[in-house]
Amino acid sequence: MAVKNVELGDLTNKNINQLKLLNSTILPISYDEKFYLNLLTNGFMTKLAFFNDVVVGAVSCRIDPPSDGCETSSLYIMTLGVLAPYRNLGIGKKLIEHLDTYCKSNKFSKIFLHVQVGSEAIEWYKKQNFQTESLITNYYRHIEPADCYSMSKTITPTTTTETNTTTSK
């Protein structure tokens, strides 16, 4: 089924509890109050996916400024999830596409993340052009298995087949 009726929206201090509820429904790790408060500050980026005005998915990222290893900023996905009944409709893909566009228009070079070994999401991320970088052992403290992969995707501003690239800044 094609993605109809899906719109992306911003996180605000009025709807932040929906994100909390969404994440606690989907993700195995629970995040504390401070984590969510941070999301509203500069240096973070969240997009909510609305299906017929109801929040059914979301992605939250941290913006990592340029560092020794990297000359430009990059996006680190902290959480990504779509409610189970709404999966496989292209909503997750739409969220990733948004991140791509965002990176392009802000000249970010990379999106990266950590994903638990054995997760179905690994295959999914591969399908979204992410590559496995390395295995990190004992990454998680409270969940089993504790190991994870680090995955990433390089953003190349010019060589793109995307049609909906926003050029304006």
Binding site: M1, K14, N17, Q18, L21, P85
Partner: protein, 845 residues
Amino acid sequence: MAPTLSSKDQNALKNIAKLFDDKKYKKGLKTCETFLKTHPENVDALCFKALLVYHLEKRDEAFDLAKNIIKSNMSSSVAWHTYGFLYRSDKNYAEASKCFKNAHKFNKESTQILRDLSNIQLYQRDLQGLKETYTALLQLGATQKAYWVGLIITNHLMGNKKTALHVLDEFLNVMEEKEKTGLKGSELTLYRCMLLTELGEYDKAIEMLVKEEKNILDKLWAKQKHGEILILKNNKQDAEKIFRELLKLNSDNLTIHKKIWECRGIPDFTKDNFDHSTLTEEQIKFLTSFYKDLNNTYPKSLLIQKVPLMFTQDREQFTQFLSKYINHFLAKGIPSLFNNLKGLYNNATKVEIIENTFKATLESLEKKSTFPNQEEQQSPSSVLWTLYYLAQHFDKLNNYEQSLSYIDQGIKHTPTCLDLYIIKAKLFKHQGNISGAFQEYNRARQLDLADRYLNTKTVKYALRNDDPVTAEEIYSLIKDESQPLWYNIGEFQVMWYEKELGSAYLRAGNYGKALKAFYLVDKHFTEFMEDQFDFHNHITKKMTLRSYIEFLRWEDGVFQNKPFTDSAKLLVQSYLHLKNNSHVLNKLKREEPIVATPVVSTTASSADDDDEDDKPAANTNKKAAANKNKSETAATPAPSAAIPPDTDPNGEKYLKEENYLVPATKFIEQLLKFTPTDVQVHALACQVFLQEKKYLLVLKSVLKLKELGGVEGPLYHQYLITLLHTAQADKECSELILKALEKEKNALTGGASLAEYNQQFANKHKDSVPHKYVAGLMMNLISPADKSKATELILDLQGSGAHWEQSFNNYQSLHSAFDSTVAEQYRQQCEKRFPRANCFAPKQE
């Protein structure tokens, strides 16, 4: 006559007038008193003094002054006019009207006096007087449109429609041609058509509509009117043609649909509780083919798909229509589906089909993501909306477990869908689980803090949950934070808040605050009445006489509006509880901060404009003063600096009443006048009048209860027997009344004794909880020796008709009507019968 003044003195007087108009009362008074030193007898100055003093909040002194002026100037028009102003400001319109009439008597030339008089006469609906006033005004200035309109409207309201038409035509004659074009001309034509129709002059009305068609701007109204007149003329064929044309313009206008039914002699089957089996075969045949055609022409119209669900009796056809209709809503995720089908629930067969259809739909969606017997893939949210519907369906059937199970499945499916929590809250509320309802609304609210509807609902349920402190905290998030709560709700006429707040205090036995809240609602209705004062001049500018008449007719029934009747009933109840020292059932959930009554002198606020008149900073104070004097500005909130202190935070002044039955009677009389078919009003009237020993009035309400609820109705039974019992025991009760009562009793009991009759009543209704309750109460009243039998009847909650809310009221009454032991036993029974209702949970001290 006073000696003529020098031009200097005249200017001084003008200056005082200006100061008064600018609301610089302090300064005005000083200037005025200086002037009076040299002209102690000057009536104009004396009058200004009285007005100034009144506006400086020395009401009594102002009235004394005015009385004295009149004493020495009995024939001074100015003096009477001033006296009238004071009464008008005091809202004593009867006296104000008398004074203005006297003022007119001594100055027949003044249009101002007559205009002031007309305003009050309109407000009081003194139509005869109003007619005279407008006639006098027209004689003084025949060119003033406002007077013509006034005379026309007055005659119309009086029912003198012929005269109204006559005056209207005369007015049209004297009007300049260019005035009769555009909107004004169109409005006058349509008003004339309205009058002609009300007069039964149908042909003339139609003739005019046809002739003036080009000049009429409100074409839809005119066309609809044309059709309606044809129906009145019994020319239904032509009427139907017109309504069919109107349908082309808006196929979703239910009113037009109804008119077409009317043309075919088909009753309005969309009314609540309409028995659809009363429609004839022929009628159903017409409707079926009519809606089939419409459906072909307007395949997208939801109304056209909905109407057949109501009249269709054939199982198969109904099922087919239903599936098509609901699939549309479910696919699109439109939450209002249940509201659209609610009207079908008085038909058991349809309810059964609805249930089966939705269950089959759910199964199909869960298995294959399609609607039954269809191929097209549906979005995952159709499952959600099907669950959402089923939850409401089972709530409607009072099947709590099923409803809860579906709603919880929905929440599991899409926990971020706020509508689910609202339904869960409603389900809880229906079961009496008010704290649960509050929590669900609050959960939804926290998920979307920007949603005002959810904020409002949560506040309402916090109040119902006996928690004004939490309610205020949540409400504060949406109200102007500089305004204290009571000020804010009063200023913005937030009547639902006032009613719920008052009710919470009433349950908690805090009668002062309860009354204070209910009186705010009462005040708003007075404000609505006073809105009329501004209307007349506005109307004559646009000549929108049709809506003016409708507005005035609405004003006539303004006290029929639910917010008023609800609060008035609660006011009466509060007074009865006060009078009877009723048992208090609830405590507020959270302690309120104690507010001591401030010892502010009433003049403190008027000191504000002291000598600051000329400084720009005084602007806000002026506004405050304006607010106090002009009700029409009530909707514009004053700046925070001008918020007057609350001199009676606990509503203590309402408790100082000497006899609580006096205000209770006042409200009961108003209720009886405006909502004479409300059984609760009559039950309350019986209680109040019994206490006042006004047995004839009790009998009147008892008979009304019989008319409304039948001879077997529990309320009629209860109050007739209570009346008989009370009157017979009252040695001062007149023979006449006793005879009338005896007659009513014999007609009912056929000569049997009250005790026997009551027993028969109990036997006859042994499956009805409300009947058994009343029978028990009456048994205890008539023959106290049978107390244990009576108790048994009361405690027997098996059978139909029991509702937690009514039972809760009963529980409170039992403390005085029986004793607290029985009351406690009753509570325990209620707790078993309504296990989820909070109000029957044992009180933890």
